[in-house]
Symmetry: none
Subunit: 243 residues, 2 copies
DNA sequence: TAGTTCAACTTGTATATACAACTTAGCATA
DNA sequence: TATGCTAAGTTGTATATACAAGTTGAACTA
């Protein structure tokens, strides 16, 4: 039972999530009761209950004693991690994850980033560009500058095994992150890569991450803004400059 | 068993929380195992487990299979949290700010929000919808549910003087906020109000705010995603679950 | 008709049990 | 010494069972 998806309560969770996704149960509609799931899924009530409990905790369902369990209209609490791992997310949807490495090299640090990475002009930095795919369809472009001091072996990694995000969080555990979200026009590369229509905007997420006081990575993520539903969760504890 | 604190798993939770508070178990120290709690608290293992599970979910403990359950390091709490208001932002750009109140009323709390606001069915909540304008051009739709316990005089306010955001932060100082950013299709109301083109997406920001442990407000902000350049900046503190 | 009771269904709490999966320390062996 | 194995302890998953507590609608009664 190494694959999480073979676990019985995961089967039930996916069964419910699937039903919500394909419209079997609309918002505020009752999903099968615990006892009904015992019948249809062939699990014990406690297992069915665990599935419903977790989905409730994730904000996907809500429950009312004596009445039933219902589909929540909009997630108040996102089930996602604070920094999402796109590979896991794709797999969690039951789809196939793959990626394509466009660029991976050492280069002189761009001038406008020298200050952030605490580098002198002419010093090197790692630069990668990759495309993340779901069922072979491009869903995200990732451009990333990585601090050699924080991840000296970045260039040697095989990013089919492990996304840059996961690798970096292993070699330089996150202590702080800053995000900037922006909707903007796509450039020609994005338009071709993400198969965008004319004038279709992209949702851009700039993410800067630190490990202790060391700036580890500056990363830009681009998604099609209209065709995909993109959610992120941010718990702010310092400062938020808004709009 | 009407008092939640008489429930067995709550007894165990309080026992653990108490021990952490009075210093019996320091950060990263092991707390009693499930079987030890069976002995000392006189509950079944599943009940002890539920207590530890919930405390883990709350970020108070972390668990490692085969090793034990440990006290998680404390989250950093910064009392200062700034959410700048849109009126100031517009004025800072040298433009004229105005708004239009679409709806301001008391209504029964929607069922799916009862749990979050800690209300019973039939209890009332405040609901407002307004449009923020820059040079008389709509730039943001704000829909907001407000907890009457946190801001009992919300309905009496004149929101030309002070935006809901500013008013709320005065009567119930923010201690925590959570955001969810999403690009999605506009509904007809948004399309008309924000003068959107066909199929033009909106950038939606869901913001939930707390004052201490009290959920103050659940708010949705909608912006045209393509015509305006919208940037938000978020500083996140991450907690490590595995050490 | 209006109000009450009750049966059937729901979720909520609690226990007892079994086995799987993982970690660690100590022991046995090469 | 170094290596590998095992036993004991831990969390993780799953089942079966029982009763408590809240909801609903239908049958019953005044």
């Amino acid at each position: 039972m190494t694959d999480p998806n073979t676990r019985r309560y995961m089967v039930v969770k996916n069964f419910i999530k699937q039903g919500i996704e394909d419209g079997s149960w609309a918002e505020h509609k009752r999903v099968p009761s615990e006892n009904e799931l015992v019948e249809t899924c062939g699990v014990s009530r406690m297992t069915a209950r665990r599935a419903l409990d977790e989905l409730t905790e994730e904000g996907i369902l809500y429950r009312a004693q004596g009445r039933g369990t219902f589909v929540a209209p909009k997630k108040l609490h996102s089930p996602m991690l604070e920094i999402r791992n796109i590979a896991d997310e794709v797999k969690q949807r039951g789809n196939e994850y793959s990626n394509e490495l466009i660029l991976l090299q050492k280069e002189h640090c761009p001038i406008h980033l020298l200050h952030y990475f605490d580098l002198e002009e002419g010093e090197d930095i790692f630069h990668s560009i990759m495309v993340h795919k779901e069922n072979n369809k491009p869903i995200q472009i990732e451009q990333r500058y990585v601090n050699p001091k924080a991840a000296p072996d970045y260039l040697k990694q095989n990013f089919n095994e492990m996304t840059p995000n996961v690798y970096l969080s292993e070699v330089a555990p996150l202590t702080q992150a800053e995000h900037q979200i922006e909707a903007k026009e796509a450039d020609p590369f994005m338009r071709v890569t993400l198969k965008l229509q004319e004038h279709e905007p992209v949702l851009s997420i700039d993410r800067t991450t630190w490990s202790k006081d060391l700036l580890v990575s500056y990363c830009q993520l681009f998604h099609p803004a209209s065709r995909f539903k993109l959610t992120g969760r941010f718990t702010t504890e310092h400062q938020l400059t808004e709009l």
